[in-house]
Amino acid sequence: MAGWEREDPGDLAGREQLAGRDYPADGAKQVVQANRDFLANGAIRIEQADRMDQADLDDLVIGGRRLSSRFFLGTGHFPSPAVLREALDASGAEVITFAVRRVNLDAAGDDSMLQHVEDRGLVYLPNTSGARTADEAVRIARLAREAGLGRWVKIEISADPRTLLPDALETLKATERLVKEGFVALPYTSDDPIVCRRLEEAGASAVMPGGAPIGTGLGILNPYAIGLIAEQARVPVIVDAGIGSAADVAQAMELGAAGVLVNTPVAKSRDPAAMARAMRLALEAGRLSGIAGRIPKKKYASASSDPAGSLFGPPGGAAVLGKAGW
């Protein structure tokens, strides 16, 4: 399946392909027709339903790497190495992020956290957390690459110690420079559609707008902005920071995100492995829900069945209903 290789998550054809259905690219009319054909078959076929279940299993591709999971997990704050490993298992995450300043750059195998996960073939997404300027972020990214932690980097630049909100201008500068140096750059940024577009133009392999400040668990404070970012982006949008629970993950995916990055809401929950699993399921549910498409919001009620009581038949269709055997 083509999936995000098309790098066009907002486009309808892409979405239909993700749902496992090969509808033509040009739009709603044909989708409607296809739906009619589907219903005309008289029953919902199990294999069709199975294919829809697998909509979330299509691959996300970032920096040329095919990823089987859209769940990116941060490794900080876990109560114990055993709990971290359990949560990793439950999340299914293939990409993990950690602060470069926290790890042992002389020997990753000696590191207090990495030693517990190095057997798993994970993609490392070292982050520049703590950086206050583009210069600092670039230096940190280089340190990580020299230490053999790969060429992916999450650019995180904060100018304020209380909110840790990203500094968009410095983030853009760092993205431009790191892309030129051959990094797979994933900038963490504010939920500003224009900034996200500029980052994409600068060569970011994905953009990672925050739902709310890091570690606050406030959820997605501006769903409108996140939806707009997801709609316009031609690179994957990973909602990073601010997620509080599985509901927020589902919302991010419904809004069209290609994935989520979380840390605190898993690590500091009462049961991190259970929360990781809940979020994995929410990610799948939210993605499927977004693909299926929510109904328009209406002011007044409309009955689920017509006055004659039929589900799908034409008006006055009691006889038709009988014939179809429903």
């Binding site: 704050h77 055993a82 929950s269």
Partner: protein
């Protein structure tokens, strides 16, 4: 409920502190320990009393419990030393968090800002000031945070002093009892415990302080006790303590100089079941990092190394409080890396519960023993 006899199960720092507290309040106390007192995590601990250094994220309930316990420590140690006639070597050495990256400055700033409201009196240090405070630190250290209010204690000596204080206060200490084979609760009539080697023991109340062995109690309790052992490996360099003036924390390890001249370095954590041996990997990474952070230790091998099993819970916080539906039983376990620090606060809390007073209200339900139970029961509610 009004009973005045208490059975404490588990002879580590938490069990002995609860026993000592209960004895001070006039209870008849028996402590039953399956092997030797302080023989597990308690005796292996480095004795760091450092809630500011170890809770950088924010003032949550756990930090507040740790801080309350730190503040209770001077008086706690004074009383135990007086009652036992032994020295627990409590020292308010202060701590230094040493940072190797310019990117550490911002998080240290965040930490100093919120901790000042809690009496941390932390000060940010530029490289030159850091070097003045800790001359033996590597030149690679770019910044630091000094916290003068943190302290440390000799965990093995404190355990021995507590044991002696308990003995002198009339506490019955039953060591080498083997495992508990049965717990029977009889409501107002109290609790009866059967052990492998010390027979049956009965009291009005039972307090469970079994650390990493606590999950064994699940078969008698109506709650889930998801405690798992995390091995903590530690080593010590002889005669190195005078070179290091404070407790020093870094991203990979900490160091603390003890009265006997040894510099203790910890800890490598892993999940190895109940295995208590040290590994080349676990000690090797501490040795290599010690040489990096303190060049005078470069190439030196530690003179001793050992490991303890830390009782960790799923959220990293202890279980402290009464067992719902079983008023004669109190749980105090799962203290993980903070058993030494948390003992005074835990003991006071348990003492209040035994006295029938409200306790632990300041922490909400953060440490409620039943907080993992709904999940384990398959979320039937």
């Amino acid at each position: 409920m009004a009973g005045r006899s208490v059975l404490i199960v588990g002879g580590g720092i938490v069990g002995l502190s609860c026993a000592w507290e209960a004895a001070k309040r006039g209870f008849r106390v028996t402590v039953v320990e399956k092997e030797t007192f302080g023989g597990q995590a308690s005796g292996a601990a480095a004795g760091m009393l450092a809630p500011f250094s170890e809770n950088a994220a924010g003032p949550d309930a756990f930090f507040r419990l740790c801080l309350d316990s730190l503040n209770a420590y001077p008086e706690f140690v004074r009383e135990v030393e007086e009652a036992s006639g032994m020295d627990a070597e409590w020292r308010r050495a202060g701590s230094v968090a040493a940072a190797l990256h310019e990117a550490d400055w911002l998080p240290l700033q965040s930490r100093a800002a919120w901790q000042s409201a809690y009496g941390g009196r932390c000060e940010l240090l530029e490289a030159a000031d850091l070097r003045k405070l800790e001359p033996a630190l590597t030149g690679e250290a770019l910044a630091g945070l000094w916290c003068p209010v943190e302290s440390h204690v000799s965990a093995p000596k404190l355990v021995r002093a507590l044991e002696e204080a308990c003995r002198r206060s009339g506490v019955t200490l039953v060591g080498d009892a083997g495992g508990v084979t049965k717990l029977e609760t009889r409501g107002e009539a109290g609790a009866v415990l059967e052990t492998e080697r010390a027979g049956a023991l009965a009291a009005d109340r039972a307090v469970l302080c079994a650390g990493a062995w606590s999950p064994l109690w699940e078969r008698w309790l109506p709650i889930a006790v998801p405690v798992h052992p995390i091995r903590g490996q530690i080593c010590a360099y002889e005669k190195a303590a005078p070179e290091v003036r404070h407790m020093v924390f870094s991203s990979q390890a900490y160091w603390v100089g003890k009265q006997d001249g040894s510099l203790v370095c910890g800890a490598s954590e892993d999940h190895a079941g109940f295995e208590r041996s040290v590994t080349e990997k676990g000690i090797g990474r501490l040795t290599r990092w010690s040489g990096k952070m303190f060049p005078f230790l470069g190439g030196r091998q530690p003179s001793r190394s050992w490991a303890g099993l830390r009782p960790a819970t799923r959220d990293g916080w202890p279980l402290i409080g009464p067992v719902p539906g079983m008023p004669e039983v109190v749980v105090a376990t799962g203290h993980y890396r903070n058993g030494i620090l948390l003992s005074p606060a835990t003991a006071r809390w348990v003492g209040d519960l035994l006295d029938g007073r409200p306790a632990g209200l300041a922490y909400g339900g953060a440490f409620a023993p039943e907080r993992f139970t709904r999940l384990a029961a398959g979320a039937s509610r």
